[in-house]
Amino acid sequence: MNDEILLLKGNEAIAHAAIRCGCDGYFGYPITPQSEVLETLAALEPWKTTGMIVVQAESEVASINMLYGGGGTGKRVMTSSSSPGIALMQEGISYMAGAEIPGLIVNVQRGGPGLGTIQPSQSDYNQATRGGGNGDYEVIVLAPASVQEMADFVDLAFELAFKYRNPAMILSDGVIGQMMEKVVLPPIKPRRTNEEIARECPWASNGMGLKQRGVNVITSLELDPAKMEEKNHHLQQKYQAIRDHEVRFEAKQMDDAEWGIVAFGSAARISEKAIETAREQGIKAGLFRPITLWPFPIKEIGRLSHQLKGILVVEINAGQMVHDVRYSVEGRIPVTHYGRLGGIVPDPDEIVNALKQLQGLAK
């Protein structure tokens, strides 16, 4: 057996991947169901090997502001938490977006609102894809559906974050974080040297290259409204470029499908099983899985609505992504929602029943 193939929890995979893809620093505070990220990093002691630092911060608010500082110097830095902790970070994420600071935030979602429950949920979809903090901004959101993707999306998120100078989020949940699967760890990528950072991040405020470029200022504040409007237009142009180039999705058994299930993350995995069962019963169903939740695959789902008779949106929440799907479909076909709340995860048979209800509705 290849040594690089391991049986890992999703949370453990994130930690391994961070070290291997040249992450410079992690700042986090423990919370179920994501504590294994910090635990695994502490156990692996990357400061002894790659030089990556790992800090258990005093709070989530401290973590996100450490991310602001680290990212502002052009370093690849990340934090992770679960829903209530991510809620605390929203101010810092908005500041990062305003100051155009790259960084990776991992949310292993649990049920809410408030302190809620420690069980899995996808009820932070709106928060993740609508900014979440104040101001007109967007966060690049990747939704892994397997332990392998938990590992693979760490480097992808960093690449996107630095390409666009914007915070990126991995939006996972308690199912993907806690389950173990086979995972092939990503190739080792060394941490960037200070010279590489100076070259690739000429905007970074790190005290290097002062003679060549003058002082870099990292801030989200601008009191002159004309300049602030200009700044906002610049951000909006950047977001449009991300929408144009970075949409990611996966379609399964869609070629001959009459009925579509749109689902992300763990709900997509459960829906896949439901589709197997539905097909055994003669229902031609297929899966469309948005991988980027922002930017959302609007055009792709729009195109599908010309082929399908109806779409069932499966989410472990009360109906959040369903609004984006309806927006994409523009009323051409019926779109229904099925979800469980408060930490209950739907099982495949429940989804098959919801698919049958959609069929009834569409006839």
């Binding site: 049986l7 389950m179 699967e181 763990s266 495949p348």
Partner: protein, 184 residues
């Protein structure tokens, strides 16, 4: 052959680690696996359960509506999961503390007196390996050698002297599992 398994019992019986060792053994044989635990407060003294899926093909849902095999180690687990065994599936239970034994006649039920046997042999720490042995007797989905390799990989080295004891428990578990004959 694909196997969708639920293992359920009291916290502390080694339910999660038994599932992990089974999953690890399957990984050694280059099969696809998922291991999905109930990770709530039930680990701390209440009931604990884990869903393990082993398959030659990529696995879709880690969450299931019904199971090929249910391994049930206390009464609440038996009550909860007996109805969720697939028609023609397998139910394995430890008789210790069980008042209401399995009743379904469309599945095959097996009894394994692992708790009693482990106590008699002063091997309570290997309790879950007796159960794993019983399961592998009925569904030899992985080889015992692979389980031993998995144990060697997942146990810290300071516990490696216990490996022969674990193997003994697996083999004994294979001996003591018996079909439960129900009157239809």
């Amino acid at each position: 052959m694909k196997q969708e398994i639920i293992i359920s019992g009291f916290g502390g019986q080694g339910v999660l680690s038994m599932g992990k060792i089974l999953a690890y053994a399957a990984l050694m044989e280059e099969k696809e696996v998922t291991w999905m635990p109930a990770y709530g407060p039930e680990q701390r003294g209440g009931t604990a359960n884990v869903t393990v899926i082993i398959s030659p093909e990529p696995i879709s849902s880690p969450i299931l509506s019904s199971y090929d095999t249910a391994i049930l180690l206390n009464q609440p687990s038996l009550d909860k999961f007996q109805p969720k065994v697939k028609n023609g599936g397998t139910l394995i239970y430890d008789s210790f503390g069980i008042m209401d034994t399995p009743t379904r006649t469309d599945i095959t039920a097996y009894k394994v007196d692992a708790m009693t046997t482990a106590a008699e042999m002063s091997m309570m720490k290997c309790f879950n390996m007796f159960i794993l042995g019983a399961y592998l007797k009925i569904h030899p989905i992985v080889k015992v050698e692979s389980v031993m390799k998995a144990l060697r990989k997942s146990l810290p080295e300071r516990h490696h002297h216990l490996l022969p004891l674990n193997e003994q428990a697996i083999l004994k578990g294979m001996d003591i599992v018996t079909p439960l004959h129900l009157q239809p």
